[in-house]
C-alpha cells in the first residue's frame, strides 16, 4: 500500500513537472514601444489589445519554441523623442529576444538606427515608406501599401477612375499639411500626371483647420471630375460634412481619408458617407473572409469593450495581430531566435495570417499592394452594428478582392 502511494506521488509530481515545463522555461521576451497616450493613443491602445490576444493565443498553444511569450513594452506617448531611449532600454536592460515597432511612421523611424545596429528583424506596424531612407534588409512592414508605398497607395483609385465611361479628365487634390496626407496626395499627383489628367485644384490646408466649407466651395468652383482627399480623422469628418453641405458635384470623391475606417466616425457620419470611395485595409466582405479573422475580431471586440478604442477594430487590430503572427511563425519555422535566419525566412516565405497571405518584397514592404478601395453604400443613420457585417463597404479594387460594382458618379 505504501509503495503504491509513493509511486502515485512520484507520478503526480512528474505529471506536474511535464505540464509546467513549457511555462517553467525562460520566456521569450518581445519588446516594443507603443503610443498609449498622446495623439495616436486610440490606435495604439487598440493595437496593444490585438497584440495581447496574439500573445495569449500563442501561449495557449504552447508558446514559441516551447517557451512562453512575454511582452515588455513602454508608452512612447506619441513622442518620437522617447523612442530611442525605449528601444535601447528594451535591448540593453530588459534584454528582450525580439523587437517589433510602435504604430505609425513617426514612432517607427526613431527606432530604426538602434534596431539596425543590433541587426534585428524589425516587423513594423503601419509605417509609410520608412525603409526608403534606411534600406534595411531586416525590416518588414505589415501595412499592405505595396513595394512603392507612396505611389502604389492611390494606384487603385486611379485605375477605377480610368475604367469609367466617359473617363474623368479633371482632378482636384486637397490634403492636410502633415506627413501621411502629403505623401498620399503626392502619390495621387504623380498618378494623375501619369494618366494625363488635368489637375484643376492642388492645395494643402493646416492640420488645425476646422471649417472645411470654404475649401469644398473652392474645389466645387473648379468643377473637377474627381476630388482626391488626403486627410486625418478630424478633417476627414469635416471634409465629408462640408461636401454634403455644399453638395459637391464630383463624379468620384474620396481617396486617402484616414478616419473613415473607424466605427465611431462611420456611425457619426452615417448616410453622408454613401458613394464615397476611400482606401481601407480590411472590411467584412465575403471576399476578405480569411481564416481566423472572424475569431480574432470576436475576441478583440470582447476585449475592447469599455476601453475607449475602436469597438469593431477592422482597420488596425487585425494587422497588429498579423505582424506578430509573421514573427511567431518565423520563429517556429527556423526553430531559433537567430536574426539572420529569421530575416531570410521572412523574405522567402508567404505567411498565412488573419489578414490573408502576406509576402514581403525586397524592401520589406508587401510584395504586391493590397490597398483596398471601398465604396460606402446604403449606410443608415446612427447605427454602429450595420458596419459589423458585409454590404456597407463594397470592395471595388483590386479585382481579386472585389465584392461589388462601383456606383458612378458619386451622387447618383
Amino acid at each position: 500500500m505504501k509503495i503504491v502511494r509513493t509511486i502515485a506521488r512520484i507520478l503526480a509530481i512528474l505529471a506536474l513537472m511535464a505540464s509546467g515545463s513549457a511555462l517553467a522555461q525562460k520566456p521569450i521576451k518581445i519588446g516594443f514601444s507603443m503610443a498609449l497616450t498622446g495623439g495616436l493613443a486610440g490606435a495604439g491602445k487598440a493595437a496593444l489589445i490585438a497584440m495581447e490576444i496574439w500573445r495569449d493565443d500563442t501561449n495557449k498553444n504552447g508558446g514559441l519554441l516551447g517557451r512562453p511569450v512575454e511582452f515588455v513594452y513602454y508608452d512612447d506617448a506619441t513622442q518620437p523623442a522617447k523612442v530611442p531611449a525605449i528601444y535601447t532600454k528594451l535591448l540593453e536592460v530588459d534584454k528582450v529576444d525580439l523587437v517589433v515597432s510602435s504604430y505609425g511612421t513617426n514612432e517607427i523611424a526613431p527606432a530604426m538606427p538602434i534596431v539596425m545596429r543590433k541587426k534585428l528583424v524589425f516587423p513594423s506596424l503601419f509605417g509609410l515608406a520608412v525603409n526608403d531612407e534606411f534600406k534595411y534588409n531586416r525590416y518588414f512592414q505589415i501595412m499592405p501599401s505595396g513595394p512603392e508605398p507612396k505611389t502604389d497607395w492611390s494606384k487603385g483609385f486611379f485605375e477605377l477612375a480610368m475604367a469609367q465611361n466617359p473617363k474623368p479628365k479633371t482632378i482636384a487634390i486637397v490634403s492636410a499639411d502633415a506627413e501621411f496626407s502629403l505623401n498620399a496626395a503626392g502619390g495621387a499627383r504623380k498618378n494623375a500626371q501619369r494618366l494625363g489628367m488635368k489637375i484643376v485644384y492642388d492645395k494643402t490646408y493646416p492640420p488645425s483647420t476646422t471649417d472645411f466649407t470654404p475649401i469644398v466651395r473652392a474645389i466645387q468652383a473648379t468643377n473637377p471630375d474627381i476630388v482626391y482627399v488626403g486627410s486625418y480623422p478630424p478633417d476627414s469628418v469635416g471634409m465629408v460634412k462640408a461636401a454634403n453641405e455644399v453638395g459637391l458635384a464630383a463624379k468620384m470623391f474620396g481617396g486617402s481619408m484616414v478616419g473613415l475606417q473607424f466605427a465611431a466616425i462611420q456611425k457619426n457620419l452615417g448616410p453622408m458617407l454613401n458613394g464615397i470611395i476611400n482606401y481601407d485595409f480590411w472590411v467584412p466582405e465575403p471576399t476578405l473572409d480569411f481564416p481566423g479573422v472572424k475569431e480574432f475580431l470576436a475576441k478583440y471586440q470582447d476585449a475592447a469593450k469599455g476601453k475607449g478604442v475602436d469597438p469593431l477594430g477592422h482597420y488596425l487590430p487585425p494587422y497588429a495581430y498579423a505582424y506578430l503572427q509573421v514573427l511567431g511563425q518565423s520563429v517556429q519555422a527556423v526553430k531559433s531566435l537567430d536574426q539572420a535566419k529569421l530575416a531570410a525566412h521572412m523574405h522567402k516565405t508567404t505567411f498565412d495570417t488573419v489578414v490573408g497571405k502576406v509576402k514581403f518584397g525586397s524592401n520589406g514592404e508587401w510584395a504586391k499592394s493590397r490597398v483596398l478601395f471601398v465604396q460606402f453604400r446604403d449606410v443608415q443613420p446612427n447605427n454602429l452594428e450595420q458596419f459589423a457585417g458585409p454590404g456597407k463597404r463594397i470592395v471595388l479594387h483590386p479585382k481579386e478582392w472585389k465584392s461589388g460594382e462601383i456606383v458612378y458618379p458619386y451622387k447618383k
Binding site: L36, T37, G38, Y74, D75, D76, A77, Q79, P80, A81, K82, V83, P84, A85, I86, T88, K89, L91, E92, V93, T105, N106, A109, P110, M112, P113, I114, R117, E133, F134, A176, D177, A178, E179, L182, N183, T204, P206, P207
Partner: protein
C-alpha cells in the same frame, strides 16, 4: 579659490563622462542621459531670460526646433560636420533671440509671453511649408557611420551633449555672478528703476535673449541625429517648452545652479517614470510638482536650501 573649485568640478564631470563611455557598455544609459542633458541645456537657457531677467518665454520649443531644422538644412545642403551644424544653429537661433529681444521694447509681462508663443506658431507654420527640409512630411537624417574613437554614435552624442551642457553651465554662471548678471537682476526687480539707475536695460536684455536663443539652438541641433526623423509636430512640441519652464521653476530661478538641479531631478524622474510607470503619469507628475513648487516654494529647491542655511546661521 572659489573659481578654481568650480572649474575643477567641471573638469571632473567631463573626465567622469569620458570614463563612463569607456566603462559602461549599456547604451541605454547614454540615451537616457542624452535626453536629460538636452533638457538641462534648455532649462539653463530658459532661465537666462526667465529667471535672471524676469521675461517669461513660452516659445522655447521654437528655438529648439529652429536649431534642429538649421542642422537638417545645412546637413542636407552642405553635409557639414555636427560641430559646425551646432555653431550654425547657435548663430541662427541667437539672431532670432536678438529679434525677440527687440520685442521687449514694447512688450512686458504676460504680453511678452504671448508674443513668444505666437512666434513659435509662426515659425512652425514656416517650417511646415518649407519643403526643402521635408515640410510637414518630416525629414530623415541617417546616423553617420563615423563616431570618432567612441564605441557607438550615441556615446559620441552623449559626450558632445555633456560638453555643451558644461559650457552652458559655465556661461550661465558667468552671467549670473558678473556685473551683467546684477544688471539683469535689476531689470527683473524693476526695469524702470534700473534704467533710471543707469543700467543699460535694452543692451542687457538683448544679450540675455540672444544667449538664450543660441543655447536653445545648440540643444536642438544634435536632435535630428538622435531621433533620425524630425517633423514639425514633434520638433515644435509644447512639451519641450513646458519642460524648459518647469525645470528652472522647480530647481530655483534666481541662481545659476537652480535650472541644473531642476533639470537633473525632473529629467531623471521623467526617464525613470516613463520606463517604470507610464508616460502619462510622467506628464502629470511634472504638472503636480510645478503647481506644488510655485505655490509652496516659489524660489524652488535652491530657495528652500538658502532659507534653511540662513536659518541655521542665525
Amino acid at each position: 579659490m572659489k573659481i578654481s573649485a568650480f572649474w575643477i568640478c567641471i573638469a571632473v564631470i567631463f573626465l567622469g563622462g569620458l570614463a563612463f563611455t569607456e566603462v559602461a557598455t549599456n547604451e541605454y544609459y547614454f540615451t537616457a542621459l542624452y535626453v536629460i542633458l538636452q533638457a538641462t541645456i534648455m532649462a539653463i537657457a530658459w532661465n537666462i531670460l526667465g529667471g535672471f531677467t524676469g521675461y517669461v518665454n513660452f516659445g522655447s520649443a521654437a528655438f529648439f526646433a529652429v536649431g534642429a531644422y538649421t542642422a537638417i538644412a545645412l546637413d542636407k545642403a552642405l553635409g557639414l560636420p555636427l560641430p559646425l551644424l551646432i555653431v550654425a544653429a547657435a548663430v541662427v537661433c541667437g539672431l532670432i533671440g536678438l529679434g525677440v529681444g527687440y520685442l521687449t521694447l514694447r512688450l512686458k509681462g504676460v504680453y511678452f509671453a504671448i508674443a513668444t508663443l505666437a512666434m513659435a506658431i509662426v515659425l512652425e507654420t514656416l517650417v511646415t511649408n518649407w519643403t526643402y527640409v521635408g515640410g510637414a512630411r518630416g525629414a530623415y537624417i541617417l546616423t553617420p557611420e563615423n563616431h570618432l574613437w567612441f564605441d557607438s554614435y550615441i556615446q559620441m552624442l552623449f559626450m558632445l551633449m555633456l560638453v555643451l551642457t558644461l559650457g552652458s553651465v559655465a556661461i550661465s554662471r558667468k552671467l549670473n555672478s558678473s556685473r551683467l548678471g546684477r544688471g539683469l537682476a535689476a531689470i527683473r526687480d524693476d526695469e524702470v528703476a534700473a534704467e533710471c539707475a543707469g543700467v543699460p536695460t535694452l543692451r542687457l536684455k538683448l544679450i540675455s535673449t540672444t544667449v538664450m536663443g543660441a543655447m536653445m539652438g545648440v540643444a536642438g541641433a544634435p536632435y535630428p541625429f538622435f531621433v533620425t526623423f524630425v517633423d514639425p509636430v514633434s520638433a515644435f512640441n509644447l512639451f519641450v517648452a513646458v519642460n524648459a519652464i518647469a525645470m528652472p521653476m522647480i530647481g530655483g530661478t534666481a541662481h545659476w545652479i537652480g535650472p541644473v538641479i531642476g533639470a537633473l531631478l525632473v529629467g531623471s524622474m521623467q526617464e525613470i517614470i516613463t520606463v517604470n510607470v507610464s508616460s502619462e503619469l510622467n506628464v502629470l507628475i511634472v504638472g503636480v510638482m510645478l503647481v506644488l513648487f510655485i505655490s509652496l516654494a516659489p524660489q524652488g529647491i535652491v530657495g528652500l536650501v538658502q532659507k534653511h542655511v540662513l536659518r541655521r546661521r542665525r
